[in-house]
Subunit: 279 residues, 2 copies
DNA sequence: ATGAATTACGGACCCCGTAACGATA
DNA sequence: TATCGTTACGGGGTCCGTAATTCAT
């Protein structure tokens, strides 16, 4: 019966043209190659080689067969890879989120429901999230809107409200609430990788200079040691508190008071129904 | 290294559900199956089975893998078949002809040029010939017209002229020439499987009753023992002569004085150039 | 108790590598 | 003469079947 290994040797012979080269490549002896090629030929049941006493080459059928064999070797390799990928997907949940804060509680919830599963998470823009959910690169995504797509299952999982975080000395520090437009034009400190928040802020405060910090540490230091405004939300305050000498002023723009939805494909719903029912 | 035999067993297990059934099916022992499935599992590198002490079944990944394996087994079979078909095609020329007479000389010519080749020939209608040439079901076809298709190579190989073959007592027996219309309405003897000739005759002599004979013998007997008109051509006369007590009168309709063309795909021309150059 | 899967064990056979040979450039 | 392919031969490993074991229905 034909083996994958021998087919590979046959394909290698197609490329290198001599048995000795293939033998070296596969770390086996030349006679083994002779025998394996004879075996291949008998399995195909048609002459594949042009033999002279000390030379062997593929004939027309052999050239055709080698190309076919190469295809099959490739298909075999792909089969193994697909099965491994499938198995990995069985034990992995990839989450995409529009914002950082809702991720942590969701991960905790998932790992308590499915203890043996690997969870990966990323922050991306809303449209990318939907695309990758479609392509099964994510199984779950978190969006700040309900996409109302009939093939998707969607459940509210929380909300988040953006605030300005101002030094006490700031002229607006005493306000009960603000609008994004009120600070448009001011330089503002923000963290990198805030997902959809960045998009909204750029849109509603087009004249502001956003001082993007990549590291949480330098961000914290700058907040402590500067009078620059920055943002907080009810969720960040719950987790990190309000920085010293600052106040948090709610922002009333509708776009920055969002409801988060957890979304999966309906076809995967049976896999996640326990999760959804617990939220 | 993976063998396709073991993959087949794996697929068989997917269908039968027990190792013993597969063992029986493949005429091998149960322990061998156990080992081969363990080997398959280790080659995939992921768990494929749900095992209890005396039961084994496929898990989710196993079901997926079995379907993938079935595909691959199928592709393997197809590969072998394609190579065998290719090899057969290397040693076979299938000819399609619009008429019987040009075939024999062509076959003789081919077998002298390519002594080791198998030749098959069929008579079909013109449009079918072109279709099957396109699909590589024929490598060569003979048509009574030049198709003027830029992807086809076409060379004149001969001509044939239809005649009425009339008993000496027939009123038209003394004519120098006739037209098909002259005998329209008369019953006429013809042989079966005359290719495009039948089509022309039916079209130009719509009122004639065609007495189609399947066998050459009964056709010959009827010619000898009846006064019914029939057809001959310059080529049939060259091969078989003119029947006793009959004369052959040329027919002047353009459609029945044909030039034969031998046609192949231009992409196959290098294979046949020796043949074409000899004609 | 029957039947299914696995493990243990012994032997056959297959397959590999070394060596020898033949042939060609 | 060096290289390449094939054949010969001997040993080791693999793979198979029988037998034994365990478990479940």
């Amino acid at each position: 019966m034909i083996s994958y290994y021998e087919l590979q040797q046959f394909v290698a012979f197609y490329y290198s043209g001599t048995l000795s080269a293939v033998a070296e490549q596969f770390h086996i002896s030349q006679p083994t190659l002779t025998r394996n090629m004879q075996k291949i030929e008998s399995l195909f049941g048609v002459p594949l080689f042009l033999r002279t006493k000390n030379h062997i080459a593929l004939n027309e059928s052999g050239l055709f067969a080698a190309k076919q064999a190469e295809l099959l070797v490739h298909q075999t390799h792909e089969m193994f890879q697909r099965v491994r990928d499938f198995d990995k997907a069985q034990h992995t949940i990839a989450i995409g989120s529009c914002a950082p804060m809702p991720i942590q509680p969701l991960i905790h919830r998932i790992s308590s429901v499915y203890p043996d599963i690997t969870i990966s998470s990323e922050i991306k823009g809303n449209h990318i999230l939907l695309e990758k959910l479609e392509k099964d690169e994510y199984q779950l995504i978190i969006l700040p809107t309900n996409p109302k797509n009939p093939s998707l299952f969607c459940q509210r999982i929380g909300e988040e409200h953006l605030m300005f975080c101002l030094p006490l000395s700031h002229p607006f520090a005493g306000r009960k609430s603000l609008r994004l437009a009120d600070l448009n034009g001011n330089a503002i400190l923000i963290l990198n990788n805030l997902g959809f928040w960045s998009d909204i802020i750029k849109e509603k405060m087009p004249d502001s200079h956003l001082l993007v910090q990549r590291e949480l540490y330098s961000f914290g230091e700058l907040i402590k040691n500067s009078l620059l405004p920055c943002f907080s939300t009810d969720l960040t305050i719950k987790t990190f508190g309000i920085p010293e000498n600052r106040v948090s002023i709610p922002i009333t723009d509708a776009e920055v008071n969002v409801i988060y939805y957890l979304i999966c494909k309906k076809e995967n719903l049976k896999k996640f129904d326990v999760l959804f029912s617990q939220i």
